[in-house]
Amino acid sequence: MKDQIAISRLKQGDLNGLEALVRRYQARAVHAAYTIVYDRPLAEDVVQTAFVKVAERIQQFDEERPFAPWFFRIVVNDALKLAKKQRRQVSLEEQPDHLAAQLAKWLVDPGLQPDQLLEQQETRQIILKAISSLPPGQRAVIVMRYYLDMSMSDMSARTGRPLSTIKWWLRDARQRLRSLVGAPLGR
């Protein structure tokens, strides 16, 4: 069932429409929320609540517009609010290691060959650990940019922040990662 049809059905009160949306977007949404709150049950709560909000607000939604950006905005905003409350961070400062240093280099200079840096399965986990060491707001921009593939102008529009601020947040996020592991400056 396409999004437009699912939304149309949901607007008519048919929960099969919502179920289709849940099945389509739940995993991606939980992943996005998890990257911000770093707690699986909390991430699932955030997404569950977001779908309930979708059901409650669907009459306000313009079917001609894409559903995913609207929905993920709810998810990211709610996850961010929760993360700010939780302030749960796993600090890389406490456990710098070679893999983390490689990760920081990669985030700072994506020109490095990923195969050299990310060939080991555990290295992927380092990515999550490194992101978790960032403040919640920067985690959110990393998620929006690198996971949800939003353009910076989209992020600017959805967060209500100037484009220059978004750019700075991303740059600062990369720099913070770099400083956490003491890696040399890439660019």
């Binding site: 179920e19 849940v22 699986r40 996971y147 601020t165």
Partner: protein, 269 residues
């Protein structure tokens, strides 16, 4: 590596952490809807679209409006906010302002007369934040042609200051939760106030200042004086960005240049 590749690696990492096949929120979502409104949710049945929370929400909105109105009328901050909503610069009706008697020159200067207070000491932004109790927005970089000096406190306001190498140009960014400190000299003739947008936020720009020419007893608006000011309010904080001086190194900081800088201000995480 492009964004798609980065995303792919992130997806792999997240998939390892939480396999998509293990995510099944539908029963919980459905249960939440059923628990929240028994009338409207049945699989395969029509939901009632009655807005159960409309009246409480309306009452809440009205209560908030009343509270905001009261705050606007009864508290100094509220009055300042109300004023700032209408205008950021206090507008002068004339292009001249009378000098107070104490400032009208009378013969030779009196050496015993009080001089202007020296500026407060320069401190770090973190120290300033600790003093004023709010997070201060900062530029992400030192603008071209300027050196960073530091922050100063002016009562409830924090000022972040930059200066050119030759000391002939300054950039000062003031922030306060209590509104702008106003005097007659801060006023701007109505026709010199330019409405602007800083991102999505309304603001005002003014180029010029009141100056006192030799022998005059009034201050006269000089639209060519090298003082450019930008004012706006964002997230409960009053901002004033002032560029002053003739320094060529910061000639690029015109109205558009200041707005661009203002848009880059952000709180450090």
């Amino acid at each position: 590596m492009n964004n798609k590749e980065i995303r792919s690696i992130l997806q792999d990492a997240l998939e390892e952490e939480i396999p998509s096949s293990q995510v099944d929120l539908w029963p919980a979502v459905r249960a939440s809807l059923v628990a929240g409104n028994h009338d409207r949710v049945q699989q395969g049945e029509k939901m009632k679209t009655k807005r159960l929370y409309r009246i409480p929400r309306l009452a809440f909105v009205v209560a908030m409006l009343v509270a905001l109105l009261a705050a606007a009328l009864l508290t100094p901050q509220g009055r300042a906010l109300s004023q700032s909503i209408l205008q950021f610069f206090t507008q002068a009706e004339e292009t001249t302002v009378p000098l107070p008697p104490s400032q009208i020159a009378a013969g030779e200067p009196d050496p015993s007369a009080p001089t202007a207070e020296p500026p407060a000491s320069l401190i770090s932004v973190a120290e300033a934040e600790a003093q004023v109790g709010f997070d201060v927005a900062e530029l992400p970089f030192v603008p071209d042609g300027l050196n960073y000096l530091g922050a100063r406190l002016y009562g409830d306001a924090v000022s972040i200051e930059y200066q050119t190498q030759g000391y002939d140009g300054h950039l000062i960014i003031k922030q306060s939760q209590q509104g702008f400190v106003q005097s007659d000299w801060d006023k701007v003739p109505a026709n010199a106030v330019v409405p602007v947008k800083i991102g999505e936020v309304d603001g005002e720009f003014a180029h010029g200042t009141f100056v006192v020419y030799a022998g005059e007893t009034v201050g006269t608006w000089n639209p060519d004086a090298p003082i450019l000011r930008l004012r706006w309010v964002q997230d409960g904080v009053w901002f004033e960005m002032t560029k002053s001086g003739y320094a060529e190194a910061i000639a690029y900081l015109d109205q558009a240049g200041l707005i661009e800088l203002a848009e880059s201000l952000a709180l450090k995480p």
